[in-house]
């Protein structure tokens, strides 16, 4: 008998007293918890996202399409970044200013041949995101064309993530899940990497990026 049969057999014996047609007789799970906590306008939801991101020590910036390239260029320059890895589907215009001839910045496109050691030598990464959750201050990446493979937002020490507001922002975890495809690899990010393992003192950036910068990009947002 295979171990599969052994384990499933034990499960069935353990449950021998349970009704088997549970589809019909099983009491449904009562889901009377909230879909979202509190009622907010779209703008207030974005505001809450900004607050919660900052509370978990992400650095929050605001911009509009016209100001975005300059802002990204400034963030990379402030870090002294010499190289930046980007997903294939990142809009080309976002990095135009940063890659201007004088900057000395090298753009590296995410591709399967990129080894972990090569990634380790890269300073920064710029991506979009799939969904952002206001109540928890969470960015969700789903490996879409403007986000790339999971590893590129993990190995470099500086992550700049652009969130289109208000379209990509939801209020709560229950509102986020239906917008995400389970068959894609997902990474939920809430603030930079952190540990509290040493006497519960919080330290940022153990293994993942030490600095997470989030740009809230609105059609007509003030830049900053």
């Amino acid at each position: 008998m295979s171990s599969r049969d052994v384990v499933l057999g034990r499960v069935r014996r353990a449950l021998a007293a349970e009704p088997r047609d549970t589809g019909r007789n099983e009491p449904p799970v009562v889901r009377d918890y909230r879909r979202v906590h509190g009622s907010r306008t779209a703008a207030q939801t974005v505001e809450l996202l900004a607050e919660n991101l900052a509370d978990y020590r992400a650095v929050v910036h605001r911009s509009d399409p016209a100001g975005l390239p300059a802002l990204i260029a400034r963030l990379l320059a402030d870090r002294g970044a010499r190289s930046v890895v980007v997903p294939r589907g990142l809009p080309a215009s976002w990095l135009e200013a940063a890659l201007a001839a004088s900057s000395g910045l090298t753009r590296i496109e995410d591709r399967a041949a990129l080894t972990p050691a090569e990634l380790d030598a890269v300073d920064s990464v710029v991506t979009g995101c799939a969904v952002a959750i206001a109540e928890t201050g969470t960015l969700v990446l789903d490996a879409g064309p403007d986000q790339g493979r999971r590893r590129i937002t993990l190995v470099p020490d500086h992550h700049v993530c652009v969130v289109r507001v208000p379209d990509q922002v939801v209020g709560s975890v229950p509102q986020a899940l239906p917008r995400l495809a389970p068959d894609r690899p997902l990474t939920w990010i809430s603030g930079p990497s952190a540990t509290s393992d040493i006497e519960l003192d919080r330290v940022e950036g153990v293994h993942g990026p030490r600095t997470l910068e989030v740009i809230l990009l609105s059609a007509s947002g003030q830049s900053g």
């Binding site: 384990v7 499960v11 014996r13 009562v30 009377d32 380790d120 939920w188 603030g191 393992d197 040493i198």
Partner: protein, 500 residues
Amino acid sequence: MSGTYLGMPAFPRAADVSTRDTRLRANLTHATHTIRDKRAAAVAELDDWAQLRAAGAAVKDRVLRRLDHYLEQLEAAVTAAGGQVHWAADAEEANRIVTALVRETGEREVVKVKSMATQEIGLNQALEDAGIRAYETDLAELIVQLGDDLPSHILVPAIHRNRAEIRDIFRREMGRWGRPAPEGLSDSPAELAEAARLHLREKFLSAKVGISGANFMVAETGTLVVVESEGNGRMCLTLPETLISVVGIEKVVPTWQDLEIFLQLLPRSSTAERMNPYTSTWTGTTDGDGPRNFHLVLLDNGRTDTLADTVGRQALRCIRCSACLNVCPVYERAGGHAYGSPYPGPIGAILTPQLRGMQGPLEESLPYASSLCGACYEVCPVAIDIPEVLVHLRERVVEGGPVTRGGTRTVVKPARGHAAERAAMRAAAWTFDHPGVLRRGMRLAARTRRLHPRRLPGPGRAWSRTRALPAVPAESFRDWWRRTRGESPSGPTGERGAGE
């Protein structure tokens, strides 16, 4: 400490040692109080916590009642997504499967994400016996591993170590495992974390095999979920070519939607955060992104025996948040090592004897490692009535009764010899020798009762059911002792001397 829980003394004796360790107790008290105050604030942000908690319990109960169905569904979904599913009836089999899978890759080193399941089966030791080195990559687990020590808390396994000890361990041991600690390493947490980052990065970048557990497995989609903070989990889950996940069969949830419950309950209960820094989900394998080979090892190891006990079964709802440890007056005094398993605190007191069976003095004494104050039930995000299960297990120890071992139903006699009674007496003596623990527990009980006036405390329910008595009020350890022993507790009231 030698990296194994086997041969641990029974709880009261181990606890007696740790309660005299003032450094350990100071570390623990600081930690548990800090986390539990933060947790209360994080929970208070959600005004539907009670509904989330009830839904979490209901989903887990539903899974347990149809576990065979959901496991088969999960297996089909993982397989369809390109993963390979293996079944392990016990620890030995799980270790054998993982060892063989690592051997197939030709690698002699693996990187590991913190995982209770792999600690439970003693995987690191099994791999070492097979000539394979397993590197723990969670900072706390790294501290424990380098210190040749054992974890003492579910969430912060090295909570019993302070910063100076950690610096000493890093200075002394890192070089034996890889990149040595930087010259002149101080004991500032930031420097220590940086040393760990440098030490582990070379492992992450070269690792070909990663080993993990999972917090949840979604039956309908075949998705696995790992929740973490540091990014070491993401490293192990995405950089290696082969990923092996060892997961207890109780970790399955039916639907993708169910994650909306647990991804709210777990972070707030555990680290007291709105959301932990990183959550990774994966479904089988994805072309060009992450491991090319994915193996899921489904672990029984006593879980089906636990499932067979309709009272004790609820322990399988546990999502390992560790909230119950942080409110437990006995854990705070005794420390995690006294529980003799990777599962310390109140959940350990009910899970370990059920997973292993009441096979020795430790397992028989664990149901007594509690003041039955009920604080663990109050904080548990999936509403496990730990006091109810404790009383139920005490009854098994003292009176015997039907149990399932290795899938076979049998009836245990009341306490092999007088072992159980001795265990109970030692536990009682220990508790009464530490009046602070008892008083504290009673105070907590009184407080929570005021907050929840309609709750019939678990032990009362259990006893009224098994004894056909009307519901009784909350039963303290003292009352339980008096009733079952028919006498007043007595004994020395001061702390025991070191020579005892």
